[in-house]
Symmetry: C2
Subunit: 200 residues, 2 copies
C-alpha cells in the first residue's frame, strides 16, 4: 500500500486505486496524458526505453506490484507469450492516448466529457470494477479537467449540462450513465480501440 507523488524510475502493475501520468506546461498548467487504473502498467514504456518523458502521481491510495526493469526484460525475453502480452499492453496504451488526442483536439467540451466518461466505463468494466453504466470514480474534477484540457469550472458546467439532460448522474464518487445510447450518439463512441486482449 503506497501513497506518494512519484513512483520513481520503477515499473509497477497497478492492482487497486487510481494514478495519472502528466506533463507540466511552462505556464504552470499540466496536461494529464493517461489515467492508470487496475490492471494497467506504470512505467512500462520507460522500462524498455530507460527514460520517462512524463511524471506519474498517485491520485488515491494504491496497491501495486513492483517489478524491476531487469527482471521484466529477463522474463519477457524468455517467454514469447509474455512478450506478446507486453507488446499488446504498450500498443493499447498508445491507442488510448491517440484516442485521447482525438477527443481533445476534435470534440467540443460537452461531447469530450461524455466520451471520457464512456471510456472510463469501458475500461473499468473490463477489469471488473464497474458495469457498462455505473462505476466509481474517486478523482476530483480538477484532475478530470486537466485530462480534458479545460478548466475545472468549465468541466463542471459540462457535467451539469449532461446531468440536466438526464444523461448521467453523479453521486458521491459514483458515476451513472443513464442513457448510454444517447451518450454514444453525441460522441460517436466506438470502444474497439480499447480492445479486449492480445487476441482481439
Amino acid at each position: 500500500m503506497i501513497r506518494e507523488s512519484a513512483p520513481h524510475s520503477q515499473t509497477y502493475v497497478l492492482h487497486e486505486g487510481w494514478a495519472v501520468s502528466y506533463k507540466r506546461l511552462p505556464d504552470g498548467n499540466r496536461q494529464i496524458i493517461e489515467m492508470r487504473i487496475a490492471g494497467d502498467f506504470i512505467g512500462l514504456k520507460a522500462a524498455f526505453l530507460g527514460a520517462s518523458d512524463r511524471h506519474v502521481e498517485a491520485a488515491t491510495d494504491l496497491v501495486v506490484s513492483e517489478i524491476s526493469k531487469a527482471k521484466l526484460i529477463e522474463v519477457a525475453s524468455q517467454s514469447p507469450r509474455l512478450m506478446e502480452f507486453l507488446f499488446w499492453k504498450l500498443a493499447r496504451d498508445e491507442a488510448i492516448v491517440a484516442e485521447h488526442l482525438t477527443n481533445v483536439g476534435g470534440r467540443k467540451t460537452l461531447p469530450r466529457t461524455a466520451h471520457f466518461l464512456l471510456e472510463l466505463a469501458e475500461r473499468l468494466r473490463q477489469v471488473g470494477k464497474g458495469t457498462a453504466t455505473r462505476y466509481e470514480c474517486p478523482l476530483p474534477q480538477h484532475l478530470l479537467a486537466d485530462t480534458l484540457g479545460v478548466t475545472s469550472i468549465h468541466f463542471n458546467r459540462c457535467l451539469g449540462e449532461l446531468r440536466r439532460r438526464g444523461l448521467i448522474r453523479i453521486e458521491r464518487n459514483v458515476v451513472e450513465l443513464l442513457d448510454r445510447a444517447e451518450l454514444e450518439r453525441i460522441t460517436g463512441f466506438d470502444p474497439t480501440y480499447i480492445g479486449g486482449g492480445p487476441d482481439g
Copy 2:
C-alpha cells in the same frame, strides 16, 4: 513512387514525402494523430498488433519501402539489435503523440503553432531534411490546422501573428524560424522527447 489514399494493411518505411495518420470524427472533422516524414515507419504498431485504429493518407508523392508484417516479425525475432531499434521507434512515436496531446490540450493556439513548427524543425533536421531554423514543408495549412485541432482560418491568423512578430517567415513551402530562442521561450520547447536514437 506511390500516391494513394490508403496504404492498406501493410508496413512501410517512408523515405521521401509526407504522410499523415488521422481519425475521423462524427461531425466530419478529422484529427491528425501524427505526421510521418522521412525515416518514419507507417503501420509499425499495426504490424505487431494486427489491426489499425487510424487511417493513413499520403499528403505528397511518397517514396517508400514495403515490408510484409511476417517478414518484419521474422527478422526482428532473430536480431536483438533490430528488435531494440523497433522498440525504440514505437516508444518514440508514442512520446511524440503524448507531446502532441500536451500541445493541443495545454497550449493556446499561438504557442501551440510555434511548438509544432519547432518539432518539425527538430525531426526534419534529424533526418537531414533541414537545418535548425529552416526546412521545407509542402503541406497545405488546412492539414496543419487539422493536426493542431483548430480551423485553418484561425491557424492562418496565428501564422500571421508569428510572422508579424518577426519570429518566422514562410515563403512558398519553406519555413524559416527567424528567432528560435524566442519561439522556444514562448512554448517551453524541450526536444528531448524526440530523442536521438536507441542509445539516447
